[in-house]
Amino acid sequence: MFGWAFDNESKPNLDILSEVRLFKGLNKVLLRRLLIELFEKEYHAGEIIFSEGDKGKALYVVMSGVVNIVKKDGPGDKVLASLGPGSYFGELALINESPRFAAAVAVEETYLLIMYKSYFDNLIKGNSRISSRVLLNLAECLSGYISSRNVKDAFPRDISG
């Protein structure tokens, strides 16, 4: 009866966000809040999202398209990973704004959600339900990277094959 009053257009994005490892365990209300409050940006094919050595300021979630994580390797570049919808990158920026270890480049038309450190800090202070869950997920991911030191483990949604 009141179906017209509810937002069904954001459902596909909500489904993608619910698959992001960092936001695992968050209920739909909290996920919708993230979807509303995070910045959105579309990148064209070949556009650089950030460069190697840039001061890290944000975490990115891939909602559509593909992003390559590229590291300078001698004269050329080495693709460390290709990330598809539901993947995220740049998470170290949420912890200490450290310089980017590699660059991120949009391979095709890509739509990203961007979570800035200031927003994350505010979230931690203001919402214990989101912050405890996200921090726990972040700690899990980081411990996974450290123990495995493996690109495939670090990027389980790697679509490069």
């Binding site: 009053a5 910045f39 950030f50 483990d153």
Partner: protein, 374 residues
């Protein structure tokens, strides 16, 4: 296409010619002058736009919460407007008998108050030394400019003066809800367009600054609104307990004036003291009011502000006073109220863009940990 290129090259040539003829500082000066002149002439509209922006900002968190429950943004905004409208009507029904009576009697008795105070002041000034005339002037000034609207004292009300005062208020009452509605409804779309315009290379720096400002300004404005509400309620309750007339009107005045540091609480306190003095004709009543406002100020400084606004506002007292006086000169009482939030926000923007950007980046994360993480 060629035509477009020609127009573009002509425009570039034109800009280059202007640039050759005029130094950059002259252009900047002209630009700043144009902004000031336009601001002066369209001050009413600018004030309405700023007020709408502030209100939309405060209400946006409610809309976001409603939207996170699954409602469409448009529906959430309409619902919020209906609720606010209902509260307004309900509040009017509950409070209006008291408020209308208070404001009505206050309005009717303003000339009587001013006559009483003037006669007291005159009587005492003839009795006391000549120095008292300075005091009389101060009281007259407060009465004329701050406490009692100047147009009500010793002035005949002609249509043009009433229209002159009423027109911006009516314009504001119509335009502010209109602007707030569309700002609330369309903000995500506006933000998307802004994000589209920002080149990818500048997204991180620009938008992270926007995000920082958003967090700080949001906290400050919402804190300020809660702070003013708390002070208003405290003043209303305290004045009611002391038996002072017009507690609701004076409470609203105290809450609104609280936005203006130093001068605001002082204006509210002086107004309440004058009312108490006229009502009880005793210094004891004035002392009670002074003690009440001191207690409210202490509670506000030590308890309410740290909980609501926090440490986001740390401006130098001299800068605060300069901002308030400039705000008053440019836009009157509304300028006084908006001066401090505007200066705070501007300073925060300057700090974020120019000072914090100079800070060196954090040390590179250990290689082992950062090998797969960007």
């Amino acid at each position: 296409m060629d035509n477009r290129k020609d127009i573009h090259s002509e425009l570039v040539k034109g800009i280059k010619v202007v640039h050759h003829k005029m130094p950059l500082w002259v252009l900047s000066l002209i630009l700043v002058s144009v902004i000031f002149v336009s601001a002066y002439h369209a001050s009413d509209l600018i004030i309405i736009l700023i007020l709408s922006g502030v209100l939309a900002y405060i209400l946006s968190s409610v809309i976001n919460k409603m939207q996170s429950l699954g409602l469409k943004r448009k529906v959430a905004v309409v619902l919020l407007y209906l609720v606010l409208f209902g509260l307004l009507i309900g509040g009017e029904a509950l409070l209006s008998p008291y408020l209308r009576q208070e404001i009505g009697t206050f309005y009717d008795r303003v000339p009587e108050f001013s006559r009483q105070i003037e006669s007291i002041v005159k009587q005492q000034s003839t009795d006391a030394s000549k120095d008292f005339t300075v005091m009389e002037q101060v009281i007259r000034k407060i009465l004329r400019e701050a406490v009692i609207p100047g147009l009500l004292i010793n002035q005949t009300l002609d249509f043009s003066s009433v229209f002159g005062y009423a027109a911006p208020v009516v314009l504001g009452l119509i335009l502010t809800p209109f602007f707030v509605f569309f700002l609330l409804k369309d903000w995500p779309e506006m933000l998307k367009r802004i994000m589209k315009w920002i080149p990818p290379a500048y997204v991180e720096t620009t938008v992270s600054a926007m995000s920082e400002i958003n967090v700080l300004v949001g906290r400050y404005l919402r804190g300020l609104a809660i702070d003013c509400l708390a002070v208003g309620i405290l003043a209303t309750c305290g004045l009611s307990l002391l038996g002072i007339h017009y507690p609701i009107t004076l409470g609203i005045l105290s809450g609104c004036a609280n936005v203006i540091p130093y001068m605001g609480p002082l204006i509210a306190c002086i107004t309440a003291s004058l009312i108490a003095f006229i009502q009880f004709q005793s210094i004891g009543a004035v002392i009670n009011v002074l003690l009440l406002y001191t207690a409210i100020k202490l509670t506000d400084d030590l308890l309410i502000q740290p909980l609501t606004i926090g440490k986001t506002l740390s401006l130098h007292p001299m800068l605060l006073v300069i901002a308030i006086v400039t705000g008053e000169k440019l836009f009157g009482v509304i300028g006084m109220i908006l001066a401090v939030p505007i200066v705070t926000i501007t300073l925060k923007i300057i700090t974020i863009f120019f000072l914090e950007r100079r800070r060196p980046a954090a040390k590179r994360a250990p290689e082992a940990a950062s090998r797969m993480i960007v």
